[in-house]
Symmetry: D2
Subunit: 342 residues, 4 copies
């Protein structure tokens, strides 16, 4: 039997979620997020992020969430600052532009934005005599972890926040894999830190144990009529309970943290295997995505046993690859990988 | 205990769907609709609509589906023709306009478009010397059943199709409640008819037994790169299996038809109750939505027992209300309604 | 020789404008509206509207101006209220929707919006339990004169303003033919009134003696970065002087008022001719557009002599037509019309 | 008296244009480009580009033209390839994104796109397994001359065309300063070449002697309903004659070529002055824009005498500057510059 490390959305949902969906299935509830499960989930998230006044909305997927939040924050003439490897800059099929906004690109340091780059962009932007002919920067977009599995330190996030403050730019954090970032040994920030440092962020469910769903958290207050913006973007579930029940389960008894930790432990085992075998890593990732550079021979040995993603084919036959673990990865899965590489 | 007839999305999913989600939960699958469950569901739908070459895509919700399909069909300078009570004209928070397209409104006959009105609009449009200064009609949007629970006959649909042919306009049918339309005794069209008469339609899941999900069917061929359009609209699920498993279940052993029929039987019982009590119906609906006009006294008698939706408050205190049944409505639920009104 | 009453943009510009363009032609000036002519024109307009703090921008044409101003005022989820015969609702090829906004239609009373209709729309909108699923009204659009040549009284405008105040909606007045409205004997409002009652309005140049150009007046303050919004909409002239010189000329020694008055005097002569001949008028217009209902025989008699626009062909052969006068119409032109009809 | 080399739109229009506007001023003509002057201009342009079937449209300004043409060519899910210094990528305030399209950026070689870079982008795009999640390249945008005054050779354009053919991408050339490119001694392409190599290009009027106006040339055929797209983008002049008369004049007796040549001759004199003074040029431009790197002392010596644009302030005080000549620049203007630098 094949084991897949292709991505962190290969399975369904954590069994407790399915169980809770079954238990609540016949309860009649209001639609559009006004159900009691969603309300309970919102309360638990407010507690977890320590922002009792937070507005919390449940959307379905990441691209949709990014497009909706960014459109809600930007004025028509504004763009969003992101590193050129950011998900919104590359892999969302132009969802941001579809709403009329440009993604203003900054250099990427293994997926991360540097506060100094951000500062330099903004100061040179306003120093340009033609700036009013250009797209005006209206917000900053980060992902945590990044698309390359890397993490910002609290110091780095604070520095970015300070630049944002200087230019009065809201800061938005894409947390598609937020759990896997927070569970990493290399992480020195907490959910509370995000509620303090970001104007809005989302807690990813789809890749961290849910069937679907992302929790958008506005620690202070959502923009006026954000509900309508969600609807306009086709992001409002009639059965809002579907995501409500899931987040209610994930934020009960620390399930979200626990299953995130599993992914990290498995990822570190995977990383250790590559290191033991002398396989170089493209990026030193402390989270659930690992990027070994495999030879043709190594890839052949995995053939028919282990699935993974090829990110970049290099001349000569080596490939940068991605191996992702998740809440669902078992020690046995990792063992199979080890055996296949032996 | 309260019984709710507020809408047809008050419960979770049909138990067989939950069961199948649980059974398949640990199977590792490809993302974005390339999983085996989605492929199986597509095959079953192709068979059910008798269009072996059909392209089938699974999206999440209705507004999203409408916005994505319409954007895929229209050129930038085109608009979509719909009755003024159509969902896209009223209750989608401007999702169509967000993509840059105008909804061109026609008269509504209990929610239905008349072929004669469509023809008159188009002929007078092109007779207007200024037509090139106006939004050019690029497609026709219908819902079946309509927002008022009414149904087109095969003759009516054929007439509309003929006008579409004359003006080379694609015809799109919003089937959010398609099952409830097809299961009605008043219905003389079939799934196959839609595959023949429409250029694209969707088979609604959210309101017909699924947790979420709509199956978009292009009986002949989807527009180029529709997958990317879906992604751009934030409508692509990472775990496409979530909708794939659900439609695979719904289209196994006629489940979709069976549970749709339940809604109709319950609705006809509900309708009979209103008629027995001499309660007038705003619209003579043959489907799962009924629109009784209740007095204050009648509403008081339901208070605390039966939930429903108020559509229109009339001077004097009478209200046009909506009572919806669904796959989940039981004979006991109907009994409660009868008792409350007695 | 044919005389055309087809529209009010059949000729070039008032000769004083051409003369002033020639005189200033070799002066080197800054671009994008920062030239001295534009600044001078802005000062004269501020004086004319009695709003010394007004922000004034010069755009090129009417549709462009409407799309730019409306996009600057609306949030993403908002729409603009207009009568269903309004220019933005019909004859702008979807320019408003292109920016992502819906035109929310109200009844038209010979082209005018009734304060009562506006009020009714808004109160029933917010009374609808589903209002957050709908496009939220974000501003009001009027034209003065309307597309049918009719005028609001000061009382009517004040009532609309009061509804706007109650719902905190900005009021925008499309003044494509503003001069012709103000010059009418039936008009009891002034430029100053518009600066007081509207949040933004434009003074039309294209149809009132200029080659092109509309002056957008924000009596209090333009939205932040309106310059950039203008640029984004492709509405920023490199040679801003072209419109600046024109408005500077039009607002010197009351030229705009004088030439507007000519159009009205000629229009009233035209109207009198139709009335003398017993030709019914579709609308009792007090401005430069007249709408006689002509018989086939009458149209034949004009053939080859007088040009006009056909608005509506009626069964039987009668046509609703439009005859427009302008700053350029001469008494001789009117005489020709009289002779042709004799 | 100051002499300005700030830009090529500092003056009004060539005197012959003003004269012709005055001569034709009282002629009554149809609106929206259906006037006889526009038709005459179209015929002359068809002859000049040797494309008798060409569709020619007159728009007002460059950003507007780019946004309209690009929106007409792209499908909703497509983006436009341009170098990262391209006008649409930087200085149009997001007009392309406003229509929902992403600008896909390629390296810039002194403002030029390399066919090899284009080819590499496209081949690696389609080699990426995730390409359907990304914005699909739908056309190529070039400017001639570029924003840095540089020119493509016929060989370079042909190579780019070949890549376009291979990927079936339309090629669009922004000719805001086309005349100045064609008139350069370094230019080996002709108007006919553009009609052959490009799918659409525009002949710039605003910067080459007109008050405003750009002529969009579709050598084979415009997309269906391009007129309506122009209207939708607010780019349709009611008095289309304004641009028609201007292009009719510019394309009579080779005026466009003659006045373009003046700009080049003056620019080469300006360039020679800088070279004589040992002032380095940032870019070796063969057209009407020159980019000397001036010291603080040199800039001081120009102070109060010569206006120019600062493009980039360098540490130490040197500045990259731009000096633009135009149809209106006189030998005396150049003399003043020489004197000021002596």
């Amino acid at each position: 039997m094949m084991v897949s490390f292709t991505c962190d959305y290969s399975e369904g949902a954590h069994p407790l979620i399915l169980q809770r969906l079954a238990e609540t299935n016949r309860v009649q509830e209001a639609g559009y997020g006004f159900d009691t499960f969603s309300e309970s989930a919102r309360e638990k998230i407010r507690a977890a992020v320590n922002a009792p006044e937070a507005d919390v909305f449940f959307l379905v997927g990441g691209t949709q969430t990014n497009a909706t939040v960014i459109d809600a924050l930007l004025k028509g003439y504004e763009g969003v600052l992101a590193v050129h490897t950011g998900h919104i800059a590359v892999h969302e099929a132009g969802a941001i532009e579809e709403s009329g906004h440009k993604v203003l690109e900054l250099p990427s340091h293994d997926g991360k934005m540097a506060a100094a780059d951000l500062d330099a962009y903004l100061s040179s932007f306003y120093a340009d005599e033609a700036w009013e002919h250009m797209v005006i920067p209206g917000m900053v977009y980060l992902s945590f972890p990044t698309e390359y599995g890397t993490l910002y330190t609290k110091k780095e996030l604070t520095e970015i926040r300070e630049v944002c403050n200087r230019y009065q730019l809201p800061l938005y954090v894409d947390g598609a894999r937020l759990g896997y970032g927070l569970a990493s040994d290399a992480c020195d920030v907490t959910l509370e830190d995000f509620a303090r440092l970001a104007d809005v962020f989302y807690i990813g469910g789809t890749k961290v144990g849910a069937l679907c769903g992302e929790a958008v958290v506005w620690p202070r207050k959502a923009p006026a009529h954000f509900f309508t913006t969600v609807k306009q973007h086709g992001a409002l579930l009639a059965k809002g309970r579907l995501v409500g029940v899931q987040f209610d389960t994930l934020f009960t008894d620390g399930l979200y943290q626990k299953i995130s930790r599993n992914a990290i432990e498995r990822a570190m085992e995977v990383k250790a295997i590559f290191q033991e075998k002398g396989i170089p890593l493209k990026i030193d990732s402390p989270t659930n995505q690992q990027f070994p550079i495999l030879t043709s021979a190594q890839m052949t040995s995995l053939d028919g046993k282990i699935l993974f993603e090829v990110w970049e084919k290099r001349p000569g036959g080596d490939c940068v690859t991605r191996f992702a673990t998740s809440w669902a990865t078992t020690p046995e899965d990792v063992l199979r990988l080890r055996e296949a590489l032996d």
